[in-house]
């Protein structure tokens, strides 16, 4: 029988293979050591070696090549390369955080690393896939690893509960998505996205089964990125999970899922589907409102950041909406990627600072815990302020440019209502983003703020901060490079 898997496939899939082997490495060492856990930094080193190798492998591909692996089940194009490298970076930073965070650095750190890397592989598969079956595999790999990661914390009660909630609702969403895939497969005869995209305009717009199927597929995906009304799990799960995992979830999952959404929409799966376009508009506005208003009443810092991430998903969805109208719009894709980039580095940095504050296993960080931080730790206060302001969308920080590009593409296609609510959401968000800033600068501390000694975490935060400042001013360079590779 002909071998369908050739050398080319192995070369293209090399990053995934490398990551897989590296992920088992710490576990293997642990087993060989009679179950004695290595020092966290050693595990970290091993993991980072793998990440660096995998990341560099992506650079071997030439910038504008569109390469298909495994009989084009995975497609590596410009968008995918950027997103993959970005996902690898995100995982790297989150591992930095985990190595230092009190809840994750315990005796199960090797398992933790294994699961993070597995989730990463799932994310990479998802962002590269162009076949519905492969997408499902990637999604499940990512999600199942995350279910366990949320539970894997020294803290007993809340983490397990959060994990179970995430598991149940996540599996429900996966099942719904799977049913959607089944229906789409049934009506089109194939699971290969470009092929489906081709037939969409001809036969399938009138086909009820296809419409239901594509809707269910979308629902499953929107759940993963916490769009209204599928957002209810987010605050609980984000709060319950250990902070490095929250950071990983809020950034990596979104980047991977939106990557796939870009692929989905730009293949024209929803082209001409007025119902979906209108539905998306309504959902975007409601998501932005729920996210922003929900954050206002939060006194728990992680919960506030989780509601804020709901709102930001809404903003990113605007770009996807534009793609629904015009699948070939390069600006919208670049805008989505840029915004995800801006949002992710700021989020990782913010959660990193929250992680710095968690000295005790069971102590949650409230917004009031930041009181007076400006006096005792001025640099951290400044960095956190910059992150908050970037999330608000104040120029000249990177968040503003992300919003500028997204709203521009929305206005280009005359989505006035959506753009308007987008900016109103930004105004509302000022209130809750500024509250920590107020606390840090304008209130007195009850007792001195102490940070745990977390060196790597600090380095990670510092890098994020520099990126935020740098790419705010140089945003056009970033945008340019993205567009060039499309």
């Amino acid at each position: 029988m002909e071998t369908i898997v050739g050398v080319k496939d192995l070369v293209l899939g090399a990053p995934l293979l490398v990551l897989f082997f590296i992920s088992i490495l710490p576990l293997t060492i642990k087993v060989l050591n009679n179950n004695k856990e290595q020092r966290p930094y050693a595990v970290l080193l091993q993991a980072w070696m793998g990440l660096i190798i995998a990341g560099s492998l992506y650079f071997l591909q030439s910038p504008d090549a569109v390469l298909g692996a495994f009989d084009t089940a995975l497609i590596f194009d410009g968008v995918n390369r950027w997103m993959s490298v970005f996902l690898i970076l995100i995982s790297g930073f989150c591992l930095f955080m985990s190595a230092d965070n009190i809840q994750t650095r315990g005796s199960q750190f090797s398992e933790h690393t294994f699961l993070v890397l597995s989730s990463l592989i799932g994310m990479l598969i998802m962002s590269a896939s162009s076949d519905l079956i492969v997408t499902f595999i990637g999604l499940e790999l990512m999600s199942i690893s995350l279910y366990v990661l949320v539970a894997l914390s020294k803290e007993q009660v809340i983490a397990k509960e959060a994990a179970f909630k995430y598991f149940i609702l996540g599996s429900l969403a996966s099942a719904i998505m799977l049913y959607g895939i089944a229906l789409m497969y049934g009506s089109s005869g194939t699971t290969y996205l470009p092929d489906i995209g081709r037939i969409v305009s001809e036969l399938l717009v009138e086909d009820v089964i296809y419409q239901i199927g594509s809707l269910l597929l979308l629902v499953g995906l929107l759940f993963k990125v916490s769009i209204f009304p599928f957002h209810a799990w987010t605050p609980d799960v984000y709060q319950g999970a250990p902070t490095p995992i929250t950071a990983f979830m809020s950034t990596g999952v979104k980047v991977a899922t939106f990557s796939f959404l870009i692929r989905l929409f730009s293949q024209g799966i929803y082209e001409g589907n007025d119902f979906i376009i209108q539905l998306l508009q309504v959902l975007i506005v409601l998501t932005i409102l729920v996210g922003n208003i929900g954050a206002i009443i939060q006194s728990n810092l992680k919960r506030m950041l989780s509601y804020s991430s709901i709102a930001h998903s809404g903003y990113v969805l605007i770009g996807i909406l534009v793609l629904a109208v015009n699948p070939r719009d390069g600006l919208a894709v670049a805008a989505v990627m840029f915004y995800l980039f801006a949002y992710a580095i700021v989020n990782i940095g913010s959660f990193g600072i929250v992680s710095l504050k968690e000295k005790d296993e069971n102590k949650t960080v409230f917004v009031n815990d930041l009181n007076g931080m400006a006096k005792t730790k001025p640099i951290t206060a400044l960095i956190f302020t910059v992150f908050m302001l970037s999330l608000t969308g104040i120029p000249p920080l990177i968040g503003f440019f992300g919003k500028l590009y997204l709203f521009s593409s929305a206005l280009q296609y005359e989505f006035y209502w959506v753009a308007m609510w987008g900016v109103i959401g930004s105004v509302i968000s000022v209130y809750y983003y500024l509250r920590p800033v107020v606390n840090m600068y304008m209130r007195e501390a009850d007792k001195d703020i102490e940070f745990a000694r977390q060196d790597l975490n600090t380095i990670g935060i510092g890098i994020c901060f520099l990126l935020v400042l740098l790419f705010g001013i140089l945003s056009s360079n970033v945008l340019n490079s993205i567009q060039v590779s499309l």
Partner: protein
Amino acid sequence: MLSSIGEIGLNHYLILSAALFCIGMFGVLMRKNALVILMSIELMLNAVNISFVAFSRYQNNLDGFVMVFFVMAVAAAEAAVGLALAVAIFKRFREINIRFFEHLKG
């Protein structure tokens, strides 16, 4: 007498699949016992499997059959994880009724 029912076609399978899927969804959303919820999730996944098989059979396409294998493998993994989580919770709470999930509020 059986022949008067008519031939079993694609539609029958699809309706069966949809029915099972809905029952499963009802179970996930409405039931309180964690194990029952896990079972419902499995039910949903297998309902989708029926769909895949049916579509594949009636379109003479192998893709659906292949998908079923993947889904079964994934479902097994999910069940394993779910049960592990249920065990972890059971150890803590002595109960797996989700009524007790009240710690995360606000």
